[in-house]
Amino acid sequence: MIEGFAAALPANAWNWVAVWRRNYLAWKKVALVSILGNLADPMIYLFGLGTGLGIMVGHVDGASYIAFLAAGMVAVSAMTASTLETLYAAFARMHSQRTWEAMLYTHVTLGDIVLGELAWAATKAFLAGTAITIVTVMLGYAAWPSVLYALPIIALTGCVFASLAMIVTALSPSYDYFVFYQTLVLTPMLFLSGAVFPLNQLPDAFQKIARCMPLSHSIDLIRPVMLDRSIAGIALHIGVLGLYALLPFFLSMALLRRRLMR
């Protein structure tokens, strides 16, 4: 059993690149549509909520509401992009298109496939998060050049949510189950992580829950660099995000091995 798990681990540090490149080639054919699709949703939220609520709210934590919200939307867009890629697109490649099966005939191991898929989902999250970041910089809602520090955090956020979504992909019998994860996990997380309103007015219990959510750690890193403020507890935030990326990776791999290689 342990021997079998070892054989399914990534074969080496670079094998996953072949999987990533396959997805990149497929994406290149529909890149424009994909970018517009990924960008539209968070932009509508940003300007819809930002201007509408911004009139009533005014300033939050010393920043205009739209600048406050921008950091949240960057993190949320990364979360959404990598989650959707891992849930729907990777599930299709595993299940109906049998792309993974073809990969398993070769030098690629199951671990390489999972790693390649996570890296690809993180790439899409990076593209989506970066696109919104560029828009906010151009409109003057984010501080230049400290906003550049947000880019690696966006990529890490993508890794975290791809990794988490891979567990759902590994467990779901069909597409119909994904909606539970989206509505019961991601939507509450959106409101409990300080993306749209600050957490410090919430009851203590909710604040404690928020401390466990990966999205709040991601926002706690992204918001200060976008507003050019100092970050508190940087190592803790990165450490939590790292754990959220790493542990689900191994868990999802074990689950996928049970599902695909039984």
Binding site: N15, A18, L25, A102, L104, Y105, T106, L260, M261, R262
Partner: protein, 335 residues
């Protein structure tokens, strides 16, 4: 003795490529090169259902070995275990001299797979499919591009190189899957139901391509429930039922051993009435639906017995693997 004479003397048998012989270029030691695949006492069950039951067989290099059986006989599970995609519960598997699944990744270096269900990338072109698949074996674009022309030629897809897979016919897709399986220049090719779902024209093309591979000295493991395919292509085959091995041998030898005479198919009358009529002249009779299968050493006697009966259709034909299979596993109503 002039040493230069020696190499010249040896080139004869090596250059002559013959079906059933190991490639002389193989770097694997001699003791291993003659055995491509070895299953010893392999068992696999899912829950209470035993899918493969203490199965043992050996496939020699350069041979076309058939795994024959109905759906659910365990053929695909055997193919998956051979690739290290499923671990056996008991027994040992050795593929190309390497223990599987422990070192399956190394074994897969020498294996090409043609799966039962197409898993080509539909949105990619023919050429892109080959390039991308080459990368999974660690091949650079340049390395893949060096072999792609010959693969396209093999698959008869030279003119379709830049067509999307979704534009290809079923036969073309299967040819592309075969070409894809050859990108790593494998010694062993595993084909899981290669012609299932294809029209007769495409099926003959696949068979012809498959024979071309055997002529190149490749070893082929073919799973099929299609008797004609097994009879045409396989040097040797193993008949399976519910994961158990029930017979093994060369197709003709199996036919001779289990049937040994011509078969007369009789239909168009009441099978039970006909049964009692021809019984004295038959070695064995089986009824399947409305058809009577009569194994008769002297078919003329049977024919004489049935003379004058209107509406009867008689077909005398040589025995085939299907008869063997149905004899071994039982027709609908065996008598």
């Amino acid at each position: 003795m002039d040493p230069e004479d020696l190499p010249r003397f040896e080139t004869g048998p090596i250059e002559r490529e013959s079906h059933g012989q190991t490639s002389a270029k193989s770097s694997v030691p001699d003791s291993l090169s003659t055995v491509a695949v070895d299953f010893a006492g392999v068992t696999k069950s899912y829950g209470n259902k035993v899918v493969v039951d203490e199965l043992s067989f050996t496939v020699a290099s350069g041979e076309c070995f058939g795994l024959l059986g109905p759906n659910g006989a365990g053929k695909s599970t055997i193919a998956r275990m051979l690739l290290g995609m499923t671990c056996p519960d008991a027994g040992t598997i050795t593929v190309l001299g390497v223990p599987v699944p422990a070192r399956a990744r190394l074994a897969r270096r020498g294996i090409g797979v043609v799966p039962q269900f197409d898993n080509l990338d539909q949105e990619f072109t023919v050429r892109e499919n080959l390039l991308v698949f080459g990368r999974y074996f660690g091949m650079s674009t340049r390395q893949s591009e060096a072999v792609i022309p010959s693969l396209l030629e093999f698959a008869r897809l030279e003119r379709k190189a830049d067509a999307r897979v979704s534009e290809l016919s079923g036969g073309m897709k299967r040819c592309l899957t075969m070409a894809r399986a050859l990108i790593n220049d494998p010694q062993l090719i595993v084909m899981d139901e290669p012609t299932t779902g294809l029209d007769p024209h495409a099926r003959h093309l696949i068979w012809e391509r498959l024979r071309a591979l055997l002529a190149r000295g490749k070893t082929i493991i073919l799973t099929t429930h299609f008797m004609e395919e097994a009879e045409r292509l396989c040097d040797r085959l193993c008949v399976l039922e519910k994961g158990r091995y029930i017979a093994e041998g060369r197709p003709q030898a199996l036919i001779d051993e289990h049937i040994g005479c011509q078969v007369m198919e009789i239909y168009g009358g009441d099978p039970h009435e006909l049964h009692s009529l021809v019984k004295p002249h038959s070695q064995r009779i089986e009824v399947s639906g409305e058809t009577l299968y009569c194994y008769a050493p002297d078919p003329d006697q049977v024919r004489a017995q049935l003379q004058g009966r209107a509406g009867l259709r008689l077909l005398l034909r040589p025995a085939n693997l299907e008869d063997v299979f149905l004899r071994l596993t039982g027709r609908e109503m065996e008598e």
